[in-house]
Amino acid sequence: MGKKKEGVFDVRKKIGYLFSMFAVIVVLISGCGGAGDSKDDTFVVGMEAGYAPFNWTQSTDANGAVKIDGSADYAGGYDVALAQKVADGLGKKLVIVKTEWDGLIPALTSGKIDAVMAGMSPTDERRQSIDFSENYYKSHLVLVVKKGGAYDQATSLQDFSGAKITAQLNTFHYSVIDQMPGVVKETAMDNFSSMRVALQSGVIDGYISELPEGITAEAANNSFKMIELEDGFQTAEEDTDTAVGLVKNSALKADVNQILAEISEEERADLMEAAIKNQPAETDTEDDADSGTVIDAKDSSLSFAWIVKIVSENGPMFLRGAGVTLLIALVGTIIGTLIGLLIGVIRTIPKPDSKVKRTLLKIINSLLSIYIEIFRGTPMIVQAMVIYYGSALAFGVDMNRLFAAIFIVSINTGAYMSEIVRGGILSIDKGQFEAAHAIGMNHLQTMKNVVLPQVMRNILPATGNEFVINIKDTSVLNVISVTELYFQTKSVAGNNFRYFESFFVACVIYFIMTFTVTRILRAIEKRLDGPENYVVIQNQMQVQAVENTVKREED
């Protein structure tokens, strides 16, 4: 009998697979989380890896580039070269952690990194929270403007009257704009990449930078011009210095200073020159010969050839980013849905008779409401900062970034899903509960065997929606330096200065991911609904004698 058995058992098996898959993923993640380097024999340095020639991201280890922790890419540049020297001097292994500019100091104070070497100047303001080594590079301020524009012949601060000028957020570059008479001070920007885009598009007329970055910008984009002023900005000595950021009273400080003192001025100049020469945008322009399409990399117009070039050169980087995005979104959605189901079940437990149980349930329900309200009521980008850096500051937990990302997406999704699940449970006909109770099932059995399977089918579209939203929203996790697609794209664009083309590639990848996921979910929905027709069993079943039935009845 029953050659073809469908129903509960099949669904159970499917869920079983899902769980085991999930378990594997969790093990993998905790695996990378657990592989914590023993802090003693490593020198962990934080940098943006996006501020050439001080530091940048590249895909090979050419020119002494060092592998970026938790990523398949490499960091190169002046900072990396110096960091390597310091690490060698300390007798430790150099580990590079790629971190947003604004995340560098929190990362240092929360113990996630040992030092900041990111072209950072030892300002008084920063000295209040961290310590600095001696100077390891000295520069001066310049302006970057559009070539052929109204300001490309400027020689003094006065010549910029009427210009829209900006600089990087939280740097002294931004405050010296006040020394320029008559300029329009635009909102500060997060990074140089954004400023270059803004300059290219004409949103600003110029931005303030330092010598190495200015040379780089000019070299990378032939519509940019660097202006060095004869009678320039008044700056404090410390502002144009670059030093190693360390935690207050760091035991490393004396050693670091000692090592830096041994590096001569000429050697520093040589290293900077090499960095300017080796930065990715410059080398790219030289080896076009073998890429088949001859493109002028300095040509600032949009071009399809550029997109081809970006994809062929950075394909693996994009794919890895897409993989991480998909992993975070998938695991986050699954865990979030499980959280949602669990909370949905708890929130629909009927009022128990016993007073103690009733109070307990009430407390649990209010806690769950608080959780839901908080996570639905705050932006994920803010939660990411609070959870990632907060956990380190408050509890000394050094969370693996990927783990933190999945954690954040999961609890966020959980908060949304629990409301969706609750709605789904309330929409199930009361008769389903009564029939289940009438055959002796308790609340849990009723939920598991009768209600939740129906709820899951009903909320599948909403879950799919959540998944698609998660694929897109993981991009905000770049603030905690998770190497997802957006973060990777920013790195690519930061190296080649082709913002439109790089983000266009990301755009296509995002769309392919969400579109594919949507289609797959449709197909799953269809499968779950089963065939529209059933097969009537034709060959007559062996008819049980009615007497048999009676006998069972009387047992």
């Binding site: 009998m1 029953g2 073809k4 058995k5 469908e6 129903g7 509960v8 058992f9 669904v11 006909d429 008769g431 389903q432 009564e434 029939a435 289940a436 109770h437 009438a438 055959i439 002796g440 099932m441 308790n442 059995q445 065997n449 009768v450 399977p453 129906q454 089918r457 089963g530 027709n533 059933y534 097969v535 009537v536 069993i537 034709q538 079943m541 008819v543 049980q544 009615v546 048999n548 039935t549 009676v550 069972r552 009845e553 009387e554 047992d555």
Partner: protein
């Protein structure tokens, strides 16, 4: 006669609305008891109180002499002994016909899959639905659904079957197939408590008929006594209304 269910001084209020007032009655083993009465008289509520889908406001229920309202008594344990058939069928929408009849056996009675399937097929066969084991509830007619619902309840091998107007939601041409199944069950000696509007069925099958009105039992007796020689005015009025 062996008493299976004894209802004692049962009362039920929804808020201030007293729907059942001091009900006393008994179901004996092997008996078919039919409850009749006009709509809103409290028949469904009585049945739902018997299997504790509604909380009692007062009184108690003895199951085989055991007070099920005692704190120590487990509701789920008690419900295993009762099979319930609803007016609206309430088949599990996420299960096909066969697994509707198996899931309770496996999860509640802890039977193996093989045992459960064997039992389910026996009863699906009995109600004439064995051909449809792979159909989903939404693919069945009302009469077919109700027969599956009966098979589902029987698969749990209950001591008593409760029916709440099992044919009231059916198109007239399907009433017969369900009543036939119920008659078969009665002939098999099953203990049944049936709320019904089918006077013909009550006359033919019931050992005892209970007439309810406005939350009280007005009169009870054999079908002969109730249908042919009713004592109470309310009973006479009800029968006159329904049989005409």
């Amino acid at each position: 006669m062996e008493k299976i269910i004894e209802v004692k001084h049962l009362s039920k209020k929804f808020g201030t609305h007293e729907v059942l007032k001091d009900i006393d009655f008994t179901v004996n083993k092997g008996e078919v008891v039919c409850v009749i009465g006009s709509s809103g008289s409290g028949k469904s509520t009585l049945l739902r109180c018997v299997n504790l889908l509604e909380k009692l406001t007062g009184g108690t229920i003895l199951y085989q002499g055991d007070d099920i309202m005692k704190d120590t008594h487990n509701v789920e344990e008690y419900r295993k002994h009762l099979g319930m058939v609803f007016q609206q069928f309430n088949l599990f929408n996420n299960h096909d016909v066969l697994s509707n009849c198996m899931v309770g056996q496996i999860k509640v009675l802890k039977r193996t899959k093989e045992e459960a399937e064997q039992t389910a097929l026996e009863y699906l066969n009995l109600v004439g639905m064995a051909q449809y084991i792979h159909a989903k509830p939404s693919q069945l007619s009302g009469g077919q659904k109700q027969r599956v619902a009966i098979a589902r309840a029987l698969s749990m091998n209950p001591d008593v079957m409760l029916f709440d107007e099992p044919t009231s939601a059916l198109d007239p041409e399907m009433v017969g197939e369900v009543l036939k199944v119920m008659k078969d069950l009665a002939n098999l000696g099953l203990t049944m408590l049936v709320v019904t509007h089918e006077m013909g069925f009550a006359k033919e099958v019931a050992n005892r008929v209970v007439f309810m009105d406005q939350g009280v039992i007005v009169e009870e007796g054999t079908p002969e006594e109730i249908f042919n020689h009713p004592k109470e005015e309310r009973t006479k009025a009800f029968l006159k209304r329904t049989l005409d």
